[in-house]
Symmetry: C2
Subunit: 516 residues, 2 copies
Amino acid sequence: MASGADTVLQRLLAGGVDVCFANPGTSEMHFVAALDNTPRMRAVLCLFEGVATGAADGYARITGTPAATLLHLGPGLANGLANLHNARRAHTPVVNVVGDHATHHVEFDAPLQSDIEALAGWPDGLVFRPQTADALTAAVDAAVTGAVGPPGRVATVILPADHSWGPAEQGAPLAEPVGADPGPGGIGVQAAAELLREYGSDTVVLLGGSATGPAGLSAAARIAEATGARPLVETFPARLARGRGIPAIERLAYLGEQAEQQLAGATRLLLVGTRAPVAFFAYPGRASGLVPSGAQVHVLDPAELDALADQLGAAPVQISPAGPPALPKGPLTAANWADVIGALLPDDAIISDEANTSGMLLPAATAGAPAHDVLTLTGGAIGQGLPVAVGAAVAAPDRPVIALQADGSALYTISALWTMAREQLDITVVILNNNAYAILQLELARVGAADGNTIGEKARSLLDIGRPDIDFVSIAEGFGVPATRAGTAEELAEQFAAALAEPGPHLIDAAVPTFF
Amino acid sequence: MASGADTVLQRLLAGGVDVCFANPGTSEMHFVAALDNTPRMRAVLCLFEGVATGAADGYARITGTPAATLLHLGPGLANGLANLHNARRAHTPVVNVVGDHATHHVEFDAPLQSDIEALAGWPDGLVFRPQTADALTAAVDAAVTGAVGPPGRVATVILPADHSWGPAEQGAPLAEPVGADPGPGGIGVQAAAELLREYGSDTVVLLGGSATGPAGLSAAARIAEATGARPLVETFPARLARGRGIPAIERLAYLGEQAEQQLAGATRLLLVGTRAPVAFFAYPGRASGLVPSGAQVHVLDPAELDALADQLGAAPVQISPAGPPALPKGPLTAANWADVIGALLPDDAIISDEANTSGMLLPAATAGAPAHDVLTLTGGAIGQGLPVAVGAAVAAPDRPVIALQADGSALYTISALWTMAREQLDITVVILNNNAYAILQLELARVGAADGNTIGEKARSLLDIGRPDIDFVSIAEGFGVPATRAGTAEELAEQFAAALAEPGPHLIDAAVPTFF
């Protein structure tokens, strides 16, 4: 009879899950051994759990289907939580398999024991703990269907070691899938059309979720053209289509004061695949909610966006055939590095964007680049960019993946570089290296904690990450990723083109000064 | 009036907490700014939260008083949890300050919002969320006294941003400290003496907690000498005194089958500052509890150990003046590297020991070295060693700190190297680099998942961390730590001596083959 571990793997495959990002420990050894009985399951070793969970997020953002993670007990899951938080906010399906002590071992409270359920539930997660080995099939099926949703969710199967090593019948597949929840119904095409006919120029159409693909963006652009409505994309979309042939719809700004300007004057807000906009943080004397005072808020199902455009008789949108930006020259600045990327971006690329403050001018630079996808920091938990790039590259081996990565954030999950090297993933990492937590230098003033001139020495020391400066070339080479250093736009262009031309991962440590 | 952030800092200082290991974000900016009003609070920047929490653990293991951490919302706390788990198991006092959104921002469920309480409670933690700014004093006082205990615990103050930036009276100090819990009373000196007089040679005295300092070990050795009892130290003591002049009492083995041999034949178990021994993991067909069948278990307060020795009339123990091992020669092996450390260990060193499988022969090599302290992996959550070394070095700037660090485990919190460089901490890191999760290669066979000969290719690929091999010299230099590579015992000796002779951090990447 198959072991429990075999059964778990078979049910994952049956649910369409055929990649596992793994950082196993002793309690997962039978699962690891069972991988050799399961040729269709690809196992990708990660050297830190946050890499595994972020990779699963990036994978599913590209394929639409979940990957599994394999994590070791509570502490292993804890290390993966921050990127599961991002997956939660992206509505990404993820299936965690978290090994636990054998059931008879629990009463002994061995050193690594902890409350795994508390952690697994934290990212609004579904949690399944099969009580017997024969319950594994139902637990895995429930986790997979629950993760898929919609909406996509984080689902966790807690796998006691004795269920893993013991015999387990595969059992009957789950009769009733878990977790499908169509969400709020919305106002429907008819009412939305009436709204826009009457209040078009006073309406903001805010797009998120599945509405940020090429079809959704095109429909939104048609609607805007026909009605005068203003389309915007949510601040951090899970996956945004961008580039030539795709309407370049502005994103709602991260900075609340800018977002307020974008939304100013709107009396109607039509939410399509997203929720009412809120400020990322609170600031003294500033509003938290970004819905303009008195504005009505309506919801539309993203699947109805195209029908709405048709209903409005909106013509196909003519997109100006703007080309990519020209290649800039001279020392790198917060502006010109993005033009290098825009100018040289290859066809059908995937950008994992954790450029943070350095990326403020990136959207302008990529509107005329070849069509591509952008994966952004949906949950705000930094350390997402490199792992998501790993997952995206595993999901789409034929597409070039570009990780645009702030320096400080890179260090939370830096060992993702090693997985890129081992799997020879076609990823070009560009580190935007300003030796600072630049966003915090900005935020320190914004929250009123200090004027630019009066930041004390100790506060300043917590916001800069120089002294010593971090050498990402050296770190990347340590993890087996070839790396170069760019100080000028010409160097960045040359190195970026070379990295794209050669298979496998590369890193460019780009000395980009802070934006402000 | 002082701000809430000022008040929090003042109350931390009033509670004896004057070091803060920080990885702040926007919601902590007022706390950061307030540091400049608080000269006595030392702030140490960490580039990952697991470094901050591990450093706080290491700090308190040396000073006996808590350090604070400063963490950013739920995801920041999540990243710090694994080392808080280790602190929990070490009974280390730690005070986390976790920033949260402003109270009026919570209803908007901004992207970074999450259930912070769920995470803070996970490591058996005390959690305090002041409901108003004026409640900050009581919350911080409660957290500090609760953390100190005894027993030492992890305590968390959740600090909403508006309480931090608003005015706050310091308020009255907490009248009633939180958390003191003397624990089980134990059998007392008289009964313990009777037990040992009657059953001495059938008794194992198992030492942990405060009983693993020089006084406790000496008392235990006297008791053993006088009664024939077998003394043992728990597997992973928080802080173990070791070296010349200190009885070299064996530790209970990590491998359950070895531990069973050590305990075999005991009909009485006297627990002093520890709990009944359990296997780290369950294995098919093996017992989880390690108390020999039928043995009686008794508890003694560590504070009574010396009185017990006196009561038994035990003479002072003569400790053989064994010297350190001789310096070995030739290619590094799993055995000879430890002799290099033992031979060259400086006076009054602190060893942060996360050598894992590579460290199996370390105890034999250090028994005759100068007296030192060893900090071990109490909770089994790997990634502790480098952060604990950071904290120990901050706690004891005049003592040399040696981090003996397995390669795979090092990568969970590798950015600790940067904090060593910035703070110019006197730490010598020796990476035991075998390009493998060697412990898992061992465990795969132990749990019966595979015989050595039948490990499949995929399973094998998840247990080795070569392909590409990780170059820790390059990584360390990237973080600003000078580094060298050692392939022979002579090279290790030369580099270790040189690193000790020069202030500031150093790393040696030692090519030590696996033990088995």
